[in-house]
C-alpha cells in the first residue's frame, strides 16, 4: 500500500464514493426535507422525530442492515453488490439521507414566513414560490450538503462491513487507516488521515467561497 499510485487510487475512490453517495442522498433528501419543512400534515412531527432518531443511527447498524440486504441470500443478493464500491455507496446513502432530509427541513422551516407570502402576493405560482423559498434557504441547504458529505467521507464502520476493504477495489481512506493502524504502520495511517482532512477542508473551503460569492 506504500506506492503513491495506490494511495492516490484510494483517495480518488473515497472521493468518488462520498460524492456519489452525497449526490444521491441530497437528490432524495432535499426534496423530502423541503416537503417536511414546508407542509403541515398529520403525523409530521412523528416523522421529524423519527428522522432525528435516524441521525443517531450507529454506522455499524447501517452496515449490518445493508449487509443483510445485499448478502447473497438477502433480498437484493442477486445484484451481486456486496464487497463492491457500490455497496459502500448504498450504505453511505442510508447514512446521509436522514442528515440531508433533517437539515433541509430545518433550513426550510427557518425561512422567513414573509418569503412565501411575498412570492404569492407578487403572483408567483406554487412551484415558483417553492423555488423562491429554496433560493432564500440556499446557504442553509448547502450547509446540509456539506455536513452529509463530511459524514460520508469520514465513515468507516459500514464501509468496512459491506465493502470488505478489498485492495484496489473497496479500500477507502478510512478503511485503509484502520488497516494501517492495526498493522502498526502509524506513519502511513497519519499520512492517510492528513489526506482525508485535506479533502474535507478543500470541499469546505470551496463551499465557503461559493457562499461568499452569493452574499456579494
Amino acid at each position: 500500500m506504500n506506492a503513491p499510485g495506490e494511495v492516490l487510487g484510494i483517495a480518488v475512490l473515497s472521493l468518488k464514493i462520498a460524492l456519489v453517495a452525497t449526490v444521491i442522498a441530497c437528490l432524495l433528501g432535499i426534496p423530502l426535507g423541503f416537503y417536511l419543512g414546508w407542509t403541515r400534515f398529520r403525523g409530521r412531527r412523528v416523522l421529524l422525530a423519527l428522522l432525528n432518531t435516524a441521525l443517531a443511527l450507529p454506522t455499524v447498524v447501517i452496515g449490518l442492515l445493508v449487509y443483510l440486504l445485499l448478502a447473497r441470500r438477502g433480498p437484493l443478493g442477486a445484484l451481486g453488490l456486496l464487497y463492491t464500491w457500490q455497496a459502500i455507496v448504498v450504505a453511505e446513502v442510508v447514512l446521509a439521507l436522514p442528515i440531508a432530509t433533517a437539515l433541509s427541513a430545518a433550513a426550510i422551516q427557518a425561512v422567513d414566513p414573509r418569503v412565501r407570502r411575498t412570492a404569492l402576493t407578487l403572483g408567483a405560482g406554487a412551484l415558483r414560490t417553492a423555488w423562491t423559498v429554496a433560493r432564500e434557504a440556499r446557504f442553509a441547504l448547502l450547509a446540509g450538503v456539506v455536513v452529509a458529505f463530511g459524514r460520508v467521507l469520514s465513515e468507516v464502520g459500514a464501509a468496512l462491513m459491506v465493502g470488505g476493504n478489498v485492495r484496489h477495489e473497496t479500500r477507502t481512506l478510512t478503511t485503509a487507516i484502520t488497516l494501517a493502524t492495526s498493522q502498526g504502520e502509524f506513519g502511513l495511517a497519519v499520512a492517510l488521515g492528513l489526506i482525508l482532512l485535506a479533502l474535507a477542508l478543500t470541499v469546505s473551503v470551496l463551499i465557503q467561497l461559493l457562499q461568499g460569492h452569493g452574499d456579494i
Binding site: R114, V115, R117, T121, L122, G123, A124, R135, E136, G214
Partner: protein, 333 residues
C-alpha cells in the same frame, strides 16, 4: 365598476373573530385608507383583499367577479398586489426583486428588466437598481417593495402601513409617486395606517376599524375611561380633564367624540354644550373642503370645521382656541 366588493366578510383566528364587515365597496381608482389602532383588523382585511388568506365566511368580488375558489384566488393574485408592513426583499439585486412579479408572469428576462427599471424610475429609485437588496435602509426597502408591486401594473395596490418607520420626506415622496401612478393609469389603492393625518391627507375615502368591525367614528378623539356610574349624567376623568357624558354604563369604557360634533371658537361659548375646553391649536390639515384642527386642551381633540369658518376665525397654529361639545355628543362604547 367597483374594484372590490365584500359582503358579510368574516375572518377568524383560533376560533376568535378578528374581522367582521357587513359590506365593503372600493370603487375603481379610489384611495381608501383603513385606519384603526393595532389589532383592529387592518392587516387581516388587506390579506383577504390580496387573496392570500381565505375568509372564514362571506364573499369578495374583484372587478365584479366572485373570487371563491383556489384557482380564482390564484388568478386574482396576479391582479392585486400587497406590500407588507415590513416588506421582504429577496436575496439579490434591487432590480431582480422588482422584476420578480413580471418573471412570475412569464415575461422574459430582458423585458422584465426594462419594465422593472421603469418602475424604479417612477419611484425615483433608478440609482438603486444594481444594489444588493439586503444593503438598503428601511425607507428604501419600503419604496423598492412598492416599485416591485407596481411593476406588474396591478388593478389594485394594497399597502400595509406604508409609511411606518420611514421619515416624513419619504412619506411624501411615496404618496406623490402613488398619485402620479394613479394619474398614469387606473389604479385602486387601499392602505392601512394608524397615522390619521396621512389617511386624511392622501385618502379620498376612509374605513375606520375598531376590534375588527367598521367603526362609526374615526379612531381619533377616542379615550379609555373608567365610568363612575351612579347617574346617567356622569363626570368622567380623561387625562387632566373632567368631561360630562350621558350614559348609564359603569366601569371601563371607550369614549368617542366625533370631530364633526366639536365646535371651535376663539372665545368661550355660552351655549347648551356642557363641555367647553380651552387650549391651543397644534395642527391644521386640509380635508377636502373642510379643515381638521387639532386642539391641545390637556388632551388632544380633532375638530372638523369648514374652511370658511377657519378663515373667518383667523385660527393659527399656536393660537388659543376653545373646543365645545355637548355631553350627548360623546359616544360611549
Amino acid at each position: 365598476m367597483a374594484t372590490f366588493e365584500a359582503g358579510s366578510l368574516r375572518q377568524e383566528f383560533g376560533g376568535r373573530t378578528v374581522l367582521s364587515l357587513d359590506a365593503l365597496g372600493v370603487r375603481e381608482g379610489a384611495r381608501l385608507a383603513v385606519v384603526g389602532p393595532n389589532g383592529a383588523g387592518k392587516s387581516t382585511l388587506l390579506r383577504l383583499l390580496a387573496f392570500v388568506d381565505v375568509p372564514a365566511a362571506g364573499t369578495i368580488t374583484l372587478e365584479g367577479r366572485r373570487i371563491d375558489t383556489a384557482a380564482a384566488r390564484k388568478a386574482a393574485r396576479r391582479r392585486v398586489t400587497l406590500v407588507d408592513q415590513r416588506p421582504y426583499l429577496f436575496r439579490g439585486t434591487v432590480l431582480g426583486n422588482v422584476a420578480y412579479g413580471l418573471r412570475s408572469r412569464g415575461v422574459n428576462a430582458t423585458e422584465a428588466g426594462e419594465r422593472a427599471a421603469a418602475a424604479l424610475a417612477r419611484l425615483k429609485l433608478r440609482e438603486l437598481a444594481g444594489r444588493d437588496a439586503r444593503a438598503l435602509s428601511e425607507g428604501e426597502i419600503q419604496r423598492v417593495a412598492v416599485a416591485r408591486a407596481l411593476a406588474v401594473e396591478p388593478v389594485a395596490l394594497l399597502l400595509d402601513e406604508p409609511v411606518s418607520g420611514a421619515d416624513r420626506a419619504a412619506h411624501h415622496a411615496l404618496f406623490e409617486a402613488l398619485a402620479a401612478e394613479q394619474a398614469r393609469r387606473p389604479l385602486t389603492i387601499v392602505f392601512a395606517s394608524h397615522l390619521l393625518e396621512d389617511a386624511y391627507r392622501w385618502a379620498d375615502d376612509l374605513l375606520a376599524l375598531h376590534q375588527g368591525r367598521a367603526s362609526p367614528v374615526t379612531p381619533e378623539n377616542l379615550f379609555r375611561v373608567d365610568l363612575p356610574g351612579g347617574s346617567s349624567m356622569q363626570m368622567v376623568t380623561v387625562g387632566p380633564l373632567a368631561l360630562q357624558v350621558v350614559t348609564d354604563r359603569q366601569g371601563p369604557a371607550t369614549l368617542a367624540i366625533p370631530p364633526e360634533e366639536i365646535v371651535v371658537s376663539t372665545e368661550a361659548l355660552h351655549s347648551s354644550a356642557r363641555n367647553v375646553l380651552k387650549g391651543r391649536v397644534v395642527r391644521v390639515a386640509e380635508h377636502g373642503a373642510a379643515m381638521r384642527v387639532t386642539i391641545d386642551a390637556g388632551i388632544e381633540l380633532v375638530a372638523l370645521i369648514t374652511r370658511r369658518s377657519f378663515q373667518e376665525m383667523g385660527l393659527t397654529v399656536g393660537g388659543a382656541a376653545f373646543a365645545s361639545f355637548k355631553s350627548v355628543a360623546v359616544r360611549v362604547f
